[in-house]
Amino acid sequence: MSRFVYFLLISNMTANLIAASPRIFFAKSEEGAIVTMIIALFFGVFMNWALITSFKAFPGKSLPQILSLYLSKWITIPALFILGVIWYVSGLQTLITYIDILLRFLTPEMSVYLVIAMFIPVITFGVIMQSRNILFTLELVFVLAFPAAAYYIVKLYFAEQVSWDHVGIAMTFIDNPPDYTVFTTAIYLFAGAFDIIIFNSLLNKKMTFGIKQALIVFFLGAFALFTTYFIPIGVLGFDQVENIMYPWILTSDSIRMKFGVIERVIFIFLLLFLAIAFLNITIHWHVACQLFQSAFGIEHMKMKLRKKASLITVVMVFWLIAFYTTLKITEYDLFFYSKYYFNTIPIIFIGLMVLMLVVNRRAKS
């Protein structure tokens, strides 16, 4: 596996730490969250294996290219369109969550329009960038922000504010039957690598997914799930954790570094994770944009100006929808719709894998 695939995977795991997934876990904390997460862990590794293996035969080709080579237009266009919507919503969900968090914790006096307006240029620029540059940005942010983010997360494990008794109580619920929503939310953490349906066109080396890669994904996932679920419980207590809107924000606000540069860890934490979230939105929307462009056949357009114009149209539509939903949606709606969104993930995954199976067969014959 190329190192960029790991980067994509980790960035998705990290961005989800403060988005909607912890809340969904905690809502089901007495109804089988733990056992589901263990199942999801194995399924997540399987997902990544299936993805990498199915793309193995097509190094240097993105999904739209592969599909247009082997399948008819009648299947390709709807498939790409649906995938585009899924990727767009994934970015949108992160965007709404982060705008909400920014307004609540960092800049409570700012107008919501201004906050969205600040996101627009940066993300738009990212979306229309070349795919190659996106990957380099990803690597850069990783080098700059990720060590610090990892430092803070590891620090949490040794903080005296974490009460391991509460973690122990959470673990006593291990015998409950699994829950579908928790399952889909947990496997979404592993969905980062699926961005290669576009970025595969840049990964020219043949990728393999053996025991080593499986173990890396397994341990990354186990660490991400454990941290996402248990650390907030240790800090905020098990009994009422499901009532908290943003468990991870409150958790980072409860951590104190006595002689750190800033005593309140939350500010550093928010900024770091904001950088990673920005990146995550950019990547997802870039993928969505590319998928839509292929679905509408923009790449085959003759005139350069026309191509640009349609690109701008796509971005405009992205932002119009984003503006509308961000202003309209309440926190409860977000939680509610996120659940529906996560619940569709396995179906999309199966659909994509069936397509890839067909394509692989046709490529062989």
Partner: protein
Amino acid sequence: MKFLSVSKWFMVVLCMSGLLLQYGCAFKDIDKRLFVSAIGIDPAENVENGYKVTLKVALPFGAIKDSPKPSFAYLSREGHSIGEAIRMLETHVDKVLELGHMKTIVVHEKLLRDDMQSFMDYFIRRGDIELIAYVAGARPSAETILKVEPDTEAPASVSLINFFGATANDSPYVVTTYLFELRRDILSDGINAVVPLIETNEKGDELIVNNSVVVDGREDPAVLSTIETKYFNSLLKHSTGFTYLVKEGSLELLLQISQSKMTYKFVPNKGNTAPHAIDMHIWMKGTIGEASKDLSIARLDEYNEVASKEVKQKVVHFLTKMQEENLDPFGFGLRYRTTRLHTEDVFTSWQKAYPDIEFKVTVDVKLQGTGTIE
């Protein structure tokens, strides 16, 4: 030569057009804000079931040289809820009240009950109040405590902050309770929250923190004495640097403990799920700080034994006292809940078992020396 492509020009214009919407800096300057350094909450005198909120506001001054004493303003207001009172207080000053730097919440002793979560709610719900703010009880009232300006208070600082969090004062008699910790402990079954109690002397120029209060549902919250507070801190919070006075016959020893560790486990009852005893083991390491007689290094083992016996007696006394009051500041119930798979009656069976539980304490004091003299 084409300088920039169309889409890039478009982007530049888009970014620049954002500037047209601005008409200057949108943020309020620092001189337009008042920084609240502490909040005091008392029961209201005139409003039924209401609260009296007192704010300690730090006043700005030009340079530290100009101001020998820190200067504060105090604002008070009664209201049905904390939020309402603070909203009304905003109309009493010409500037914005900034709560983001508020570090201490002082609550009247009588309000330290379980229903305090109803007003703590306001502090948690607001995003700008830090969850690592300290919470403390106050005697005789929060307002009096806030208005104390100790002689040792330096300009541009607040004494109330320095007491807690082990940044300045590191005494084992001072319990530190953070806001998030208080919320967690109040809302959890099987543990009682403990908050420090701030008192003042008769002249009103000193703050004294060496007792603590166990928060429970009762009207009159149980106050831990100075000694009990010290044991609580040393056994549970691993605070260092405390001393124990041990007496045996004519020998008086002052132990200086540098490390202490406590572990415990439940001794299960035969045939019954609930435990009948708690097996507690305490290790302590330290030196002798003061003695009434000449000491000999060779007899350290003997002193160890004397000390162990004394510490054990005090710990058992403290534990049984808490048990008699049906309080659980150590969180035994919480730990018990982790020891078996969850069923409905784990906690109820613990509640039934706790009043009759037996404490088997073993103490290992290991003295490493007699100080600088024998």
